[in-house]
């Protein structure tokens, strides 16, 4: 299936290659580079390219391209999903997925890739299984290794790979047993010029951080499960229990993982926490324009809106911005033409405002269109859909774990058209 993998940095250098079958020459990447040149933004490089003898399937993550070469028919999503899993694993192992970190740990990465695919077919992709075979490097371990001469490679078969719960490693032991869950909801919305909501929906995710001894069997129930419309689960969640009782029942993997993703049913009205009053205009005469933005709270469920930020992709013609912000600060990046206004906490008494003039390239035609505003915000301790976890129970182990649920609302793709 997957024949080879090339890791390519932003500048277009191949800095790692791995072949699972016969070696394929690097020159196959030329087709990719050609396409990359053509597409101005890296996001616009087509994920699937056809060359005379190969197909190139690539993803762009963290400023790196993961380019895989396949020779025969294969579901493209299969490869794409796998490549993302590789990136996730690297991130999981080293904290982030960057060229320098991969270069520092090139042997570990190579070993990981060796274990993840066999002859191009995924073999072990569960982080718990991989970590039993190849331990992630830590400072402590490298010290111990040099002292005792032990290695980073596990010498026994990870039991997880054999069981029907491959996501959990066996023999987990902790002195503090903790299970924390973050319910994070994101508001995706498009608000039009007049302030009416064109489209809004809530997507949620439950991120778990579980450090429990043994083989705990957890079950989580919600106060209002009917809110959840469409769900997708980590493989550990039992479908059946969800279908019958709307309860999440699972034996968790060890460590951090995404328990479920959900979509809040569209019948429910989505509360939009802030409103935006904006006026951006470019004058026909003279190379300048005006910008005036005010943000105020709308429905915040009694909580403070934090980490408020407005991002505007300005038209190419905008040369500079001369603005004053009543709160927070703004910066305008000349190269990317992005204006970012970082507001911070929203004070309902004194609404933040940003106003001033924009200067345009002289001679350039007046921009046709006003740029839309992308809003970022956070509201702590509340899930905007109103979803609440009612109980979290543990079976199968005797000890009492620390349990905790945290709620957070964020803006996802929150866009205000102007």
């Amino acid at each position: 299936m997957i024949h080879s993998l090339f890791l390519i940095n932003h500048a277009g250098d191949i800095f790692l290659e791995k072949h699972w079958k016969s070696v394929i020459s690097r020159s196959v990447c030329d087709y990719f580079f050609e396409a990359k040149e053509k597409a101005v933004e890296p996001e616009n490089v087509p994920p699937v390219l056809q060359t005379p003898h190969h197909y190139l399937i690539s993803i762009y993550r963290d400023k790196l391209f993961f380019l895989s070469v396949v020779q025969t028919e294969v579901p493209p999503l299969f490869v794409i999903e796998f490549l993302h899993r590789v990136a996730d694993t690297i991130q999981d192992y080293f904290g982030e997925c960057s060229e320098s970190l991969i270069n520092d740990n090139v042997v570990t990465v190579y070993e990981l890739l060796e274990e993840m695919l066999d002859n191009g077919f995924p073999l072990a992709t569960e982080s718990n299984v991989l970590k039993e075979m190849i331990r992630p490097p830590t400072i402590l371990r490298s010290v111990v290794n040099t002292l005792t001469g032990s290695s980073n490679v596990g010498d026994k078969l990870p039991t997880g790979q054999l069981s029907s719960i491959p996501w959990r490693r066996a023999g987990v032991k902790y002195t503090n047993n903790e299970a924390y869950f973050d319910v994070i909801e994101e508001i995706d919305a498009i608000v039009d010029k007049s302030g009416t909501t064109v489209f809004a929906e809530i997507q949620g995710v439950i991120e778990a951080s579980v450090r429990l001894t043994g083989m705990p069997d957890l079950s989580m129930t919600f106060m209002n499960p009917s809110l959840l419309d469409d769900v997708s689960f980590h493989p550990c969640v039992r479908f059946k229990r969800w279908e019958s009782e709307r309860a999440l029942s699972f034996i968790p993997p060890d460590g951090n993982f995404t328990l479920m993703n959900y979509h809040v049913s569209s019948q429910n009205l989505v509360t939009i926490p802030v409103y935006v009053k904006q006026n951006i205009c470019f004058f026909e005469t003279g190379p300048c324009g005006r910008l005036d933005i005010t943000i105020g709270p709308k429905q915040t469920m009694g909580k403070t809106v934090e980490a408020l930020m407005v991002t505007i992709h300005m038209p190419k013609a905008v040369l500079s911005a001369n603005l004053t912000a009543t709160q927070g600060n703004y910066r305008y990046d000349l190269a990317t033409k992005v204006l970012v206004w970082d507001i911070g906490k929203l004070n309902p008494q004194k609404l933040p405002n940003l106003r001033g003039s924009l200067s345009l390239q002289s001679g350039a035609p007046k921009p046709e269109d006003n740029p839309s505003l992308n809003i970022d915000l956070k509201i702590q301790q509340v899930a905007i859909s109103g979803l609440k976890v009612s109980r979290l129970e543990m079976n199968g182990e005797k000890y009492k774990p620390f349990k905790g649920v945290k709620y957070l609302t964020k803006a996802g793709n929150f866009q205000v058209r102007t």
Binding site: M1, G12, D13, L16, S22, V23, I24, S25, R26, S27, F33, E34, E41, E43, N44, P46, P47, V48, P52, I59, V70, Q71, T72, E73, P75, P76, F78, I80, E81, H84, V107, E111, N119, T125, S151, L157, L162, S164, I165, I190, V198, D230, S232, P235, R238, F239, K240, E243, T258, H263, H313, K366, E368, N370, N395, G396, E397, K398, Q415, R417
Partner: protein, 1158 residues
């Protein structure tokens, strides 16, 4: 050594000689018989000797592998990198490099030759880092390969990595490592066996094909499913190395397809797809099993299996949508309809066969077709986008129209994922939305475009929005489009204008609105926008030109400003075509164009000529001169197309004496009414490719793509998927140990009764034969003998599986539920009866029977007043129960741990069991040992007031404590009320013994069953462990006493080790007994079977078939237990047990004796 020598015979002479030399050298120098090269001198000589061969190989490899590359400069690639790379290409395998730079990597070689593992490791790390960066490290091959037998596991792993990378280039040297792997293949540790096979099969050296073949065959019947999985992975590797092995490989695939573990399923189907996707008939017998296993297979395997099953279903079932009108009721009804009584089922089949011919007959869905749809549906909830997509395409291609809707939600969810995922999903949604628009309509807004989307995503979303547009939503969509037109992304704007054009052509009501909107765009500042609008307007106007002369006039004015050639050409064509609508303007336009003719682009020039010709024909008075001027200009144009066109047109329109008959028809030729262009989606008809495939995405057949077959006209015989029940029964009976015999036969009868109900027998048989055919077939036979519940057939595989199945079917059968509840209750009751009949004493069974009778009545009364017993109703019930046996049965008391209570999965259990019986590794021909677990009663349900407890020794390691024997407890609550807080207390033990209690079962509802695992350290004695079993109401005194055979665990011994150990356990430690074998037990197979049933030992290979040897160690002290049975023709035999624990030895002799003579 013998095995290796045998294999070496298959190598070409030169290679053998080489290996032999090495061996002799090695043997001379080192005691360790590993094929290690001598560190200096010798290998260098070999090395240079290899060169010609190597280079030849490289050349061939280069054309195959790097064929796609164009060699040249890497676009944005760093110069340095590229140089390095090209040197690599030229340098090739390293022979030349070696010569030119003999000193290169000397430090690494030195480190590799050192005695310190840490130095070796450091060197290997540096080498692997070189490989990862694409640098050539092939000259280190000899130095690296001799570390292949290194003790340090990390060094070893890295050596493997190196070997796999360079073996292809250094074939002859790579052969030196083969024996290491061959030895690894026989290792008792499954990890080592698997990794040896993995590396061996990854070495792409054609010479070792026979060795690989043999290794794969052996591994395919390995005890460990992990090793079998590795074997499945190795199949495509070998196939790509030597396609001539196909036939043999198919045999292996066939065998592995029958494997029932989830671990193997995905990998073997992948092998099937790569090696023999056309052999769809191999799937028949495994179809139902694959459907049922699917949910527990790992996600990647799920994708492959689902894609394959889609193809399979297309060849085996009828199109559910062929009779669209029947569909709505059809899909639901048929499901139940097809499960009608057996005779009706027969009729159904007839109907099905006739269906395509007599269209009016209602379509009846094959239950297997339904099974597939039902079992894949929950996977729409997978986190893996590829799985979701696979299910979506399965539904799109296979489901009745009314049911396809479910996939829309899941696909829309994927739009939140990474942009690459969005890209692929949107492509597929675009194709789907043409065929089945309704399904995505509710999600229209999810396809709205954000300014931050990448352009390619925007354009795909636009495509979907356009496909979804209809009379009701068009106004919303157009409003949305209006905002898009203002976007800064001009490619996107152009695409939007096209989309508006398509909406206008498809939906008559909005044509004028769209046209007006587009005309407004003509005054847009951006030329690209205007140009695109012109092109689209041209297409629209062609539909009804007479109404829109003002628009044409407006466009004519644009020729002054607009410069985009395509737009100019469009305008000119439009004016020429409809010149009678704009009689005054047209000649003027031609005049202007004639002026600028020489500066125009070619397409514009062609249209000027066209315009001139048309005007000449309609209005020759005004335009004659202009036309001639234009034609003259064109005559001397640089482009020969234009010159040709000019010449052709002149001949045609200007009447001369020479002009032929054609000029009469010039008007007809030029002014014929042209059909309006149809604006259609580029995704139209793309669904003849299987959705989700690469070929679909590219809209071109990719290599290895398997066509999605059309539905068959008439359904092939569904019986091919039946798995014969009789063979199963025979097997079960032969494999089950003797004391169970009677029970079995009674079950056999019961089964036979059911055989005539086709559906039932299917589901029953389906898991059965595969299980018993499988070497470690414990769960099926185990549960059969243990609980005697026939429903456990497939249920015993794991509770979770049947659970999920149940869920997916939930809606379908909700209204039937009550009925069934009662059913299954009575069913289980009757089972109990039979069980107690066979197991307990006469009087007791009478008791229980009557009790059960009473209870049955009670329950029936409780659950629901029985529906008026109309005859037909009764019948229906009967078959219903047979249909739903899989999921509806109250959780089956299988001896396997259920995932809820103990966390050993069935596959792990299987595997561990497999380990304990690892003899098959050595002798693939050996009979598959059966571990029919004998279960013992701990608490009878009469004494337990409805709570029935059985236990068996599951022969698995007890993970919390290796010195404990694992005891599997099976609780069945036959009472009418729930039992709570089931736990144990007050354990009374002999000194030294220890117990690891099972986890408390908090609730055991009435009629439910549960299982738990406890561990007991019996201290190698057969003393009973006494304890109290407590419920929330009562306490019961119970005790567990192990048969001596359960106090040991199997160990792996070779023949030599066995002899050596036996020699040390002579005298008092040896106990012999003469015996006469039971008549039924005179072959090797039966002897092994009975001994292994009696004691948890593993077989030790032995040259003679007159002698069977077994080995084990006691669980607590680890003392060796060796048993030998040597038999003679007449049935006389001698049993010898060697064990340093005499008590155990004596008791074991007794037990085995009993097993062999009875």
């Amino acid at each position: 050594m013998t095995a290796m020598q045998r294999l070496l015979l298959q190598l070409p002479v030169s290679a053998v000689n080489m290996v032999k030399t090495v061996q002799s050298q090695v043997q001379g120098q080192e005691e360790d018989k590993s094929p290690v090269l001598t560190p200096d001198g010798v290998h260098q000589a070999w090395y240079s000797a290899l060169q010609p061969d190597e280079l030849r190989h490289l050349r061939s490899g280069g054309s195959g592998g790097g064929g796609g590359g164009r060699g040249g400069g890497g676009g944005g690639g760093g110069g340095g990198d590229h140089e390095e790379h090209s040197s690599l290409e030229e340098g090739g395998g390293g022979g030349s490099i070696f010569q030119s730079q003999p000193l290169r990597h000397d430090d690494l070689k030195e480190m590799l030759d050192s005695n310190k593992d840490s130095l070796k490791l450091e060197a290997m790390k540096r080498i692997v880092a070189m490989i990862a960066r694409g640098k050539n490290a092939s000259d280190l091959f000899p130095a690296v390969v001799k570390n292949v037998a290194c003790k340090n596991i990390e060094v070893k792993k890295l050596v493997y990595v190196y070997l796999v990378r360079y073996a292809e280039e250094q074939q002859d040297l790579a052969l030196l490592s083969i024996s290491t792997f061959q030895r690894g293949l026989k290792d008792p540790n499954q990890l080592i066996r698997a990794s040896a096979l993995r590396v061996l099969s990854s070495i792409r050296v054609t010479i070792i094909v026979p060795i690989m073949m043999l290794a794969i065959k052996e591994a395919a019947s390995d005890m460990s499913p992990y090793v079998r999985k590795t074997a499945a992975h190795a199949i495509p590797k070998l196939y790509s190395l030597d396609p001539e092995q196909k036939d043999q490989l198919i045999e292996v695939i066939e065998k592995l397809l029958a494997d029932k573990t989830t671990l193997v399923a995905g990998s073997v189907v992948m092998a099937f797809e790569e090696v023999c996707p056309e052999r769809i008939e191999l799937i028949h017998k495994n179809y139902r099993k694959l459907c049922n296993l699917l949910i527990d297979v790992e996600e990647w395997g799920q994708v492959v299996i689902i894609n394959m099953l889609t193809r399979y279903a297309r060849t085996q079932f009828l199109n559910p949508n062929m009779n669209e009108s029947f569909l709505e009721e059809g899909s639901d009804k048929t499901f139940y309809g097809s499960d009608e009584d057996s005779d009706e089922e027969e009729e159904d089949k007839d109907k099905k066969a006739e269906a395509p011919m007599v269209k009016r007959k209602p379509y009846v869905m094959d239950p297997d077709h339904r099974l597939l749809l039902r079992n894949t549906k929950p996977l729409l909830q997978s986190r893996n986008a590829a799985v979701v997509m696979a299910v979506a395409q399965l539904y799109f291609h296979l489901a009745p129209k009314a049911e396809i809707g479910v996939i829309a939600k899941a696909l829309v969810r994927l739009l939140r994922s990474h942009s690459e995922v969005q890209y692929v999903v949107l492509q597929n949604v675009a194709t789907m939305s043409i065929k089945r628009r309704g399904m995505f309509e509710p999600y229209l807004k999810s396809f709205y475009i954000r300014s931050t989307d990448p352009t390619q995503i925007k354009i795909l979303k636009l495509e979907v929005l356009t496909n979804l547009a209809n009379e009701t939503n068009i106004s919303t969509i157009l409003r949305e489009f209006q905002t898009y037109i203002k976007s800064m992304d001009k490619d996107f704007v152009a695409a939007t204008i096209q989309a508006i054009g398509r909406c206008a052509t498809n939906i008559g009501e909005v044509r004028d609105t769209c046209l007006n909107g587009l005309v407004q765009l003509l005054s847009n500042r951006d030329e690209l926008v205007v140009a695109e609008s012109v092109v689209v307007i041209k297409k629209l106007l062609q539909m009804q030109p007479e109404k829109h002369s003002d628009i044409i006039k407006h466009m004519a004015k644009l020729t002054d400003n607009i410069q985009v050639p395509m737009a100019r050409a469009s305008i000119l064509w439009l004016i020429g075509e409809y010149c009678e609508h704009v009689p005054k303007i047209a000649p003027d336009v031609l005049r202007k164009m004639a002026k600028s003719f020489t500066n125009e682009e070619d397409i514009v020039k062609l249209q000027i000529i066209n315009l001139a010709a048309k005007l000449y024909l309609t209005n020759s008075k005004q335009t004659k001169l202009l036309t001639q001027y234009v034609l003259n200009l064109a005559k001397y144009d640089q482009n020969y197309d234009i010159r040709d066109r000019a010449r052709f047109i002149r001949q045609l329109i200007v009447p001369t004496e020479k002009s032929g008959a054609l000029s009469k028809y010039a008007k007809k030729l030029f002014l014929a009414i042209k059909p309006a262009p149809v604006l259609e989606s580029p995704f139209k008809d793309r669904d003849h490719f299987q959705l989700g495939s690469l070929s679909h995405l590219l809209n071109a057949k990719a290599g290895g793509y398997q066509e999605l077959p059309d539905w068959p006209e008439a359904a092939p015989d569904p019986c091919v998927r039946n798995v014969e029940v009789f063979t199963l029964l025979e097997r079960v009976t032969t494999l089950t140990s003797v004391p169970e015999w009677t029970k079995c036969s009674s079950r056999e009868k019961r089964k036979e009764k059911k055989v005539d109900k086709p559906f039932y027998s299917d589901s029953d048989g389906e898991s059965g034969p595969t299980e018993s055919a499988d070497s470690e077939s414990d769960s099926a036979s185990g549960s059969e003998s243990g609980s005697g519940l026939e429903e456990s057939g497939s249920g015993s595989e794991s509770e979770e599986m049947s659970e999920s199945e149940q869920s997916s079917e939930e809606e379908v059968r909700k209204h039937e539920r009550k009925n069934k509840l009662r059913k299954s209750v009575s069913e289980s009751e009757s089972d109990d009866e039979e069980e107690s009949e066979s197991e307990s004493s006469q009087s007791e069974s009478e008791d229980s029977e009557s009790e059960a009778e009473v209870k049955k009545k009670k329950k029936a009364a409780e659950t629901k007043p029985p529906p008026k017993p109309v005859k037909k109703e009764c019948k229906k019930e009967k078959k219903e129960m047979s249909l739903l046996d899989l999921d509806d049965f109250e959780p089956t008391p299988s001896p396997q741990a259920t995932p809820l209570n103990s966390f050993l999965s069935s596959s792990l259990v299987n595997d561990l069991e497999g380990l304990s019986l690892s003899d098959a590794v050595l002798s693939p021909a050996a009979i598959s040992p059966c571990s029919a677990l004998k279960s013992y009663e701990l608490l009878h349900r009469i004494t337990g007031e409805g709570l029935c407890v059985e236990y068996c020794f599951s022969r698995q390691p007890f993970p919390p404590d290796a010195n404990m024997v694992s005891v599997q407890m099976q609780f069945t609550n036959n009472a009418t009320s729930d039992t709570k807080n089931l736990h144990m207390e007050d354990v009374k033990l002999q000194s030294g013994m220890r117990v690891n209690e099972f986890t408390e079962i908090e609730l055991l509802p009435a009629g439910e069953a549960a299982s738990a695992v406890m561990g007991i350290d019996f201290c190698d004695s057969t003393q009973a462990a006494n304890f109290q079993l407590c419920t929330h109401r009562r306490k019961f005194f119970v005790s567990i006493q192990p048969p001596v055979g359960e106090l040991m665990r199997p160990v792996f011994l070779t023949e030599n080790e066995f002899k050596k150990e036996q020699g040390q356990l002579m005298g008092m430690n040896e106990i012999s007994e003469k015996l006469t074998l039971d008549v039924k037990c005179r072959n090797e197979h039966a002897i092994v079977q009975r001994v292994i049933t009696a004691a948890n030992l593993s077989r030790v290979p032995c040259g003679s078939d007159k002698e069977c040897r077994f080995g084990g160690r006691t669980v607590t002290s680890g003392s060796l237990v060796l048993a030998t049975v040597s038999s003679r023709e007449d049935g006389a035999a001698q049993l010898t047990v060697n064990c340093e624990k005499m008590v155990i030895g004596t008791m074991l002799v007794k037990d085995i004796l009993l097993a062999l003579t009875q």
